[in-house]
């Protein structure tokens, strides 16, 4: 059998391919993005970047109801966006197998929260599988398609960052085709009018009952014999950490965590002297173990915040505590806007204005940090425009500061448009700035409805943000090139002084997508060390011996510093 070193994300794409999946959809989001990026190598599968997670979910569900095996992938918070169809999908069930990938981010490596999406299984009444490495990621996706078709229900495969972005050895198998069954109208199943939906709820409870029996017998919930003094129940990557620390213990490794395999857990719990449950973030398993009346140690010793690692498990649950001190006084290296980032020009223009700025989700959220400090909030996708509107309505004449929203192009398509429609409809006066870099930047340059390209590389109509803004009822719509710092500053200040509502589109492609220009130079004799250029927050500029110096290795020659310098010292 051929082997490959795959990340969890790559293994999920491979699993979908081997399982005969026909349609795969997603909106990019760390740590799930690479699933669909890798899906495109399998030309048997139609893959798309959908506009947002709800759209992606419903497209994949449509494909499933047409009888195709289909998959939708998203980061944990994406499932909040798609929660509406998620709940309906459990009632309706499937025709072709339907698999939902939720990629959670314990440790908040690139997210706004640490929510534990195993609870969505319990909440929406959908089975949940949690793989522990890449091989299992592939195997569980294939199994999830089978479970989905056998029990007429969608299946969530929940991974975490350490599964998604860790590579391990995977055995590759061939694809098994599952022909598309074809669409057939079944009104009692697919039309959730109350009279039908009530019956579907009964059906769902029956399906869950059968799944509960399956959960006890499935080989992915397995007993791994060891000494009886310590028994460990664990899922996901926490299982691997537990294995490092308790090499000789008895294990109950749970691959299917919902429905919870009650009898299996009860029988395991009775066989061991000390029972530990090792899981990341919330006590999802622990709650259910305790409901069986078993005594178990979990979150009373282990943290609920941040991801786990073997050391945390060791220090929490064993006598052998280890603490290693890092070197002190090492300056932090936070992520930041890249040299030449077009967002820089826009945020430079917003500095030191007496305004309230609703931020959004993307690279530009980094402008919340020094030296820009040009953001008041980061809530969730699309919440910049709506936040600003709410603040305005609450404060009225009490606080005359302009309420501004800053949102990226991909985020604008994702969830910004309804907010902008709402501004017009409800007579708002906010200024919405779309920082349009013609790509989905933070997740690594994915196409979106404004780029004119699909995930599979086809040319398509590129939607025009200015036209959309006008169609949303905004009459004052301006476009500016943020590299032209003076022009941008003048326009921003003019719009802030006018009566709203207005939209400014700050338009310039991401610096990482275009080639470098020759680096700029500082004329030392002209530089007086005023540090005005440092307000750009560009890592290619340093101050040495009270003069600005440009680092050739990082400078992309964007020229923003040339315009910022008051002494014409940069050329």
């Amino acid at each position: 059998m051929p082997k490959a070193l795959l990340s969890g994300d790559e293994a999920i794409a491979r699993g979908a391919y081997e399982a005969g999946c026909k349609v795969a959809t997603a909106y990019p989001g760390t740590p799930s993005t690479e699933i669909l990026e890798n899906m495109t190598q399998y030309r048997e599968i139609y893959s798309e970047w959908s506009t947002n997670e709800k759209v992606a979910f419903e497209v994949a569900m449509g494909a499933c109801l047409a009888g195709a095996r289909s998959l939708v992938a998203m980061k944990h918070v994406g499932l909040n966006v798609a929660a509406d169809p998620l709940f309906s999908s459990a009632y309706i069930g499937v025709k072709g197998g339907f698999v939902i990938i939720s990629a959670d981010d314990p440790g908040l490596h690139s997210s706004q929260n640490e929510q534990d999406n195993r609870f969505y299984g319990l909440f929406a009444k959908i089975p949940v599988l949690c793989p522990s490495d890449s091989q299992e990621s592939k195997d569980f996706v294939k199994l999830a398609f089978d479970i989905s078709e056998q029990f007429d229900i969608p299946v969530i495969v929940r991974i975490t960052t350490r599964i998604a972005h860790s590579k391990s050895v995977v055995n590759l198998e061939d694809r098994v085709e599952h022909p598309v069954k074809g669409y057939e109208k079944v009104k009692e199943k697919s039309i959730l009018l109350p009279q039908y939906a009530r019956l579907r709820h009964h059906s769902l409870e029956e399906r869950l009952q059968k799944l509960a029996e399956y959960s006890v017998s499935t080989p992915i919930n397995r007993f791994e014999p060891g000494k009886k003094t310590i028994g460990v129940i664990a899922d996901g990557v926490a299982y691997q950490y537990a294995r490092e620390i308790f090499p000789k213990a008895s294990f109950l490794k749970l691959g299917m965590v919902h429905p919870f395999p009650k009898n299996l857990v009860a029988s395991f719990g009775r066989q061991v002297k000390n029972l530990y449950v090792i899981e990341e973030v919330d006590p999802f398993l622990e709650m259910q173990i305790k409901a069986l009346g078993l005594e178990v140690l979990g979150k009373d010793a282990l943290p609920r915040v941040d991801e786990l690692n073997p050391r945390i498990v060791q220090n929490a649950l064993t006598e052998k505590k280890v603490e290693v001190k890092p070197e002190s006084g090492v300056p932090a290296r936070p992520p930041l806007l890249c040299p030449g980032c077009p967002h820089t020009g826009l945020f430079y223009a917003l500095q030191r204005q007496n305004i309230i700025i609703g931020g959004d989700i993307g690279c530009y959220t980094l402008a919340a940090l020094a030296p820009h400090n040009t953001m008041d909030t980061c809530i969730c996708m699309g919440a910049s425009i709506t936040f600003a509107h709410g603040v305005e309505k609450a404060l009225g004449d009490q606080d005359k500061r302009k309420k501004v929203a800053v949102i990226g192009d991909s985020t604008f398509f994702h969830m910004g448009i309804p907010g902008l429609v709402n501004v017009t409809y409800n007579q708002g006066h906010t200024v919405t700035i779309v920082v349009d870099n013609r790509t989905t930047g933070m997740t690594g340059h994915q196409d979106h409805p404004g780029t004119g390209k699909t995930l599979l590389g086809a040319e398509t109509k590129a939607l025009d943000i200015a036209q959309i803004a006008k169609a949303c009822g905004i009459e004052k719509v301006y476009t500016v090139d943020p590299y032209k710092i003076k022009e941008t500053k003048t326009l921003v200040r003019k719009v802030l002084a006018e009566e709203g509502p207005a939209v400014i589109i700050s338009s310039r492609p991401c610096a990482l997508k275009v080639g470098k220009n020759p680096p700029k130079k500082v004329l030392a004799e002209k530089c007086n060390g005023c540090k005005l250029c440092m307000n750009l927050g560009c890592t290619a500029i340093e101050i040495k011996d009270d003069k600005a110096v440009i680092n050739d290795a990082f400078c992309v020659g964007c020229g923003m510093c040339v315009e910022v310098c008051a002494r014409e010292a940069i050329v």
Binding site: T33, K167, P310, R333, P335, A370, M442, T539
Partner: protein, 194 residues
């Protein structure tokens, strides 16, 4: 490097330095030698010029994809401040390989904090075996600063049991045709630096 125990290698650097290609190559080599391998890293926001790490573990059986503090056999750092940041991951016998290169982080550039002045001294005090090499400079001399990662890989290869052919093979397989020669040259330059 013993065949009975796992080898832990932590790679650190600054986003954009080619840490990921380095760790992909090394993991693939270990897999092709029939070893169990896990490597872990973080993508997304953390990559935008921030501090990045990649954990590689290989041996007879690897469970955790993460290396614990105080247990790394090797710390390979593409930048010296990042070497200092992760120094405590090295085991008491661990070996440090770091570039002399320093990239000042933004809080230093804008004057919020100062760089530590005694990095070399602290390395000497904490690590028994350390090699501070000019990989970035050598890469530039070869004509492409982006092959810094292959210079570092060459330097590390002196300590591992894999043959030169396995590295060359992995480079040929993973690097674009027109960059193969310069990457192999960079690798060989690195071999000579330790």
């Amino acid at each position: 490097m013993s065949k009975k125990e796992n080898t832990n290698i932590l790679i650190s650097g600054v986003g954009g330095q080619g840490v990921l290609l380095f760790s992909d190559l090394l993991s693939e080599i270990a897999m092709n030698e029939g070893l169990d391998v896990k490597k872990s890293e973080v993508h997304g926001m953390a990559q935008r010029g921030g501090s990045v790490t990649s954990h590689i573990r290989f041996g007879p059986k690897v469970y955790s994809p993460l290396i614990e503090e105080g247990t790394a056999d090797f710390l390979v750092s593409f930048e010296k401040l990042e070497a200092l940041r992760y120094l405590h991951f090295l085991s008491p016998k661990g070996v440090l390989l770091t570039d002399t290169m320093i990239v000042e982080p933004l809080p230093v550039i804008i004057g919020l904090v100062e760089m530590p002045k005694d990095i070399d001294e602290r390395i000497k005090n904490r690590v028994k075996k350390s090699y501070i090499i000019e990989a970035f400079k050598k890469a530039n001399e070869l004509g492409n600063s982006r092959v810094q990662n292959m210079v570092m890989l060459g330097a590390l290869s002196n300590f591992l049991d894999f043959t030169p052919d396995t590295y060359h093979g992995a480079i040929r397989k993973n690097v674009k045709e027109k960059f193969i020669d310069i990457n192999i040259k960079a690798f060989e330059t690195g071999v000579g630096l330790v």
